[in-house]
Amino acid sequence: MTRMAVLTLLAVLPAGGAAQRGEWPMPAKDYAATRYSDLSEITGANAGRLRPVWSFSTGVLGGHEGQPLVVENTMYVVTPYPNVLYAFDLTREGYPLKWKYRPSVDANALGIACCDAINRGAFYAEGKIVYNLLDGHTVAVAAATGQELWKTRIADLSQGETTPVAPLVVKHRVIVGASGGEFGIHGWLKGLDLETGRIVWTAYNVGPDSEVLAKPRIFKPFYDRGAELGLTSWPADVWKNGGAPVWGWMSYDPDLDLLYYGTGNPAPYNPEQRAGDNKWTASVLARRPEDGTLVWAYQFTPHDSWDYDAASEMILADLVVGGRPRKVLVHFDKNGFAYTMDRATGEVLVAQPFVDVNWAKRVDVATGRPVVDSTKLTGASRGNVKHVCPTLEGGKSPASPAAYSPRTGLFYLATNNMCMDYQATRATRIAGTPFIGANTPYHAGRGGYLGAFIAWDAGVGKKVWQTTEPFPVWSGAVVTAGDVAFYGTLDGWFKAADARTGKVLWRFKVGSGVVGNPITFTGADGKQYVAVYAGIGGDWFLLSGDVRSDDPADVRPPADFMPDIARHTSQGGIVWIFAL
């Protein structure tokens, strides 16, 4: 191996240093957020012989988003609230626990979290498992023993902040954010010291340059000019409760030393209370992980009027675009457009709809702005605006991250085929209570089905294949060097698909709807395994309350747009492992 090759290899290793082939040390497997594994034992030819080899009940009902980690023959699982952390010994028969960690978590977080008490997972770095508790704390736990090493309060429940996001660890910095776009928070990103948990920097997503950490000559957005954009794109003081939460996924390019993340919606949902673009809500931001300095930013949905959070992952890939090799960032926004961007500058190279979109006619890549259909603009004075596509669940939910295969050059993702009516109302901010101001019922999109699993060519901006599903699809994806993609469905099927054709090769009914993200890893015996959580929840805790059976004092009718989901699934909390 040449010295250059060694350096290149080191550059892609996680902060933990010693990630082995077949491990899964961070939420998206790698810093580029590809959710691609080079394991190839499972192929299109043999996937039909997959079988369950192990399962475990987490003891918790509720949305099991996120994914396990696998490091050094140990699998780590974080549950939804109360955020128990399990460590399974993969070297012993039956995978018994090595330890479990049961933190103290404030139960009031259950009423401050907008959309079920979910958690999006942990990060392994330097012998530590780092993750967020729902009530505004980050913890580091010794991977070997389960001992708590530090616990830092990062967020304020009384201001509507909760913390289901999975951290990213870069260069001894633990990067975290908070949810609360429905509670009028002042959204931020923080960098903690990995050794001590001390908060080293705080970068707000809206507000004055001094708080956004936008410095003259360093901050260069591709499409915007001028200073104080996080103030001048808002009415006076409104930005202070303007949302811009951080609840999705983060990625990192070690060559450019840039950390990428998306921000959520502006608050409230009624846009007439916040004239202007409302920067940097519904945006992608690129920062230096060491001190949080903002390098560039781009707003996908200026003056968002439809709750189109940009919290979805930013997948880093090297693609040919317009005949030229480019270092790009690919993002599937809630607003229905897939963006292929230059990740050094924030220039939009390709922006095409990946589902039916009618709020905008297209994205003008020269200006970076969507060409909005003014009849779909919402606001309290506009009454009930009918049939906006996609819904605020997103053309793709940020909760269900896509995967990218460098072998096929394609992106794989779960999508929703739904539209909404949007009736905005005036909202009043009362700390600790919701700050929303809209009623937004859904209906099925064109074709009548509610979701699909698709493959996308981000170099040209085209769908390559699609498998429709009767219900919205809300699981993440994983794709392998065996050219097999895995995803789960809301009605509780876990499926393997041919990555080149989309043909479903195998499926298994996992006991509850899947809203988590599958992973694949090498077991202690050298075989390839695939793991996924079953446990319907997240927004479906709110939208399909008839899948719940744990509270005799809360019995709800089915959702009108999805009357029979409870026929196929109910709440659960199961970790599954499959193999040949």
Binding site: G111, I112, G432, L542, D546, V555
Partner: protein, 145 residues
């Protein structure tokens, strides 16, 4: 070792410590709407003075929206991240006084206390609104064809 003398001493010292009455509310910490703690000692709870009054129910419905109750319990109180308040079933009791107390003091798991922001009359009108919602016929069976 016989612990009885020690136990007795603890009981006696506790009794002499001035804590002869149980605290008004023994509970987990609540969220306070707007950060305002309700005045100690809720008003003496008897029946709802507005029970069955349509105008009070309509005022309560407006308050349900203005105070962001619908953000958790859903428009029409059908249930969202918080429980349904129109299914005729109550986690913390459905009598006049019990509903009032839940709004005034809040409840565990994030139901904010509104007693610091809303005067008792406004809370009673909220109770009146919730009581005006016609619960569905209590058919516990959901079936499919």
């Amino acid at each position: 070792m016989d612990l009885r003398p020690l136990m007795l001493a603890l009981v006696v010292s506790a009794a002499c410590g001035g804590h002869d009455a149980a605290p008004a509310m023994g509970h987990e910490a609540r969220v306070f709407a707007g950060g305002v703690i309700p005045p100690a000692g809720a008003p003496q709870v008897s029946g709802n003075p507005f029970r069955g009054d349509r105008q009070s129910a309509a005022q309560g419905e407006r308050t349900f929206g203005v105070m962001n109750c619908d953000g958790c319990h859903g428009g029409g109180a059908v249930g969202w991240v918080g429980p349904s308040l129109r299914d005729g079933r109550w986690r913390y009791g459905g009598s006049d006084g019990e509903i009032f107390q839940s709004i005034y003091y809040g409840q565990p798991h994030g139901m904010p206390a509104y007693g610091g922001l809303l005067p008792p009359g406004a809370i009673w009108k909220l109770v009146t609104y919730l009581q005006s919602l016609e619960p569905p016929a209590n058919v516990p069976t959901q079936s499919w064809k």
